[in-house]
Amino acid sequence: MRIEAGARTDLGRVRKNNEDCFQIEPSLQLYVLSDGMGGQAHGEVASNLAVQIIVAYCQQAELSRATPTFGELQPDVSDRTNRLASAIHLANRKVYEMAAANSEQRGMGATIVAAWLDGQKLSLAHVGDSRAYLLRAGSLDQLTGDHSLVAEKVRIGILTPQEADASDLQSVLTRAVGASATVEVDTNEQILLEGDSLLLCSDGLTRMVTDPEIASTLLTSTSAQEAADRLVELANEYGGVDNVSVVVLRVTQKSEGVLERLKIWKRNSG
């Protein structure tokens, strides 16, 4: 199994700053994306700081088992997933401390969606409304639940998805990295299969481009980078009202032998 990665971030057509950022670390198989918030250039500061801390923590954790953990450990996920959550807890603390120390940065924060692979086992962690999607055998599933006011209201049944889409409160988050002293991190795990595509993205993509369009773009692109470029271009074509960032991972087989192709074909045809 081989992972092919592509990524792109773009200002969009309306905003003056790009508050999004991402980092891909192929040696660690770690992929992190963040959407910052807060006036002036503070959103950029928050998202960049959060991503840097997460990558640095995971590097350290790979080197030494003695690396301390942050936040409450979750008993129902692997050590690696707990490490990833720990990295986000640490990032939260650092961004929060920075905002508290500089009055003009008060209120800055960031979303995070992070994927860390251990062979074919995917650890996923997120805070805020940046998302992870899995495209498998032609069907696209959202793996993360947005921490936004409208999404939480939909989940608890007091708002319909249609009302949520029409709401003027879509930008109100219920969780963000750096917004308070502690944060709750959602985690998830998946076994990735050959032929899968994983997408991490900021809301600048999902507010502009529909799920079926995302699915068909991922399906018809010949490389992960091409898929990333086309998704960003599509968001801009539809108005690009926000910064847009995507990280695309494609799971391919090591050898492109006839037998392997046959296996995939057989699996996908059920």
Binding site: L143, A166, D168, S171, L173, T187, N188, Q190, L193
Partner: protein, 241 residues
């Protein structure tokens, strides 16, 4: 005092009283009636009082302002009229008072919808209490407190029954598998069960599993009592107390 009622597909989204000051409608967050939709211009239209009458005026919007389905630039409006802006309707109501007087409403904090913001914990708690009052699903569901189990009805596995405790449960021959399938030619990862916020989802592995006889497409939510088939193995998914 007359008011304007913003509606989307018959759901009331906002009420704004009409006073001496013009009321603006548009996509920018500083409008009196902000509508977060791309079909709406930043400052789309406005309503104001002139010589005792209510006047609706289009502010050179891209997609137009419609009064009772007729595109207008400027028109008098009265009780019962419907203004169409994008997919949203604004209904003119001169018979009922708005919930809040104009001054009080102006002072209320208006969220800047274009900028992302985070609710403080107090507001979030309020929302969750509201949800608890509604007595709804997901996190508050009693299923969450019950233990999901898989009982083997048919096939060769290492146990007869499994309690699902992790977020990821792998079914297959692999060492990663919780539900270890035996036998030659058994796939390493036959299928997987993932716990999400609102429940447990079955996903494919090297095989495409069935739920209650039907092959799944994508991640499929498991319900209490579902029958799962993976290759020659049959499992019953049940919540236990």
């Amino acid at each position: 005092m007359p008011k304007l009622v913003l509606k989307f597909e018959s759901a009331t989204m906002k009420e704004v009283p009409l006073g001496t000051r013009p009321v603006t409608i548009g996509r920018a967050p500083d409008n009196d009636i902000p509508i977060d939709n791309l079909a709406v211009s930043n400052y789309h239209s406005r309503v104001y009082v002139e010589a005792g009458s209510l006047v609706l005026e289009d502010l050179n919007s891209l997609n137009g302002t419609f009064l009772n389905d007729i595109r207008i630039e400027r028109a008098m409006i009265r009780h019962g009229d419907t203004i169409l802006i994008g997919k949203h309707q604004v209904v003119v109501d001169q018979e009922h008072d708005a919930a809040l007087p104009l001054d009080g409403w102006r002072k209320a904090p208006v969220p800047r919808v274009n900028e992302t913001m985070v609710l403080d914990t107090q507001e979030r708690r309020k929302m969750l209490e509201q949800a608890a009052a509604a007595g709804e699903r997901s996190q508050l569901s009693p299923d969450r407190l019950r233990v999901p189990t898989l009982t083997v009805l048919r096939g060769r596995t290492n146990q007869k029954e499994y309690r699902i405790s992790g977020k990821l449960t792998v079914i297959g021959h692999s060492k990663m598998a919780t539900i270890r399938l035996r036998g030659w030619f058994t796939p390493q990862i036959a299928a997987q069960i993932n716990k999400h916020e609102d429940g447990y989802y079955l996903g494919r592995g090297d095989q495409l599993p069935k739920i209650n006889g039907a092959r799944i497409e994508g991640l499929t939510k498991l319900n209490d009592g579902d029958l799962i088939e993976v290759g020659r193995v049959q499992l019953n998914f049940v919540f236990r107390d």
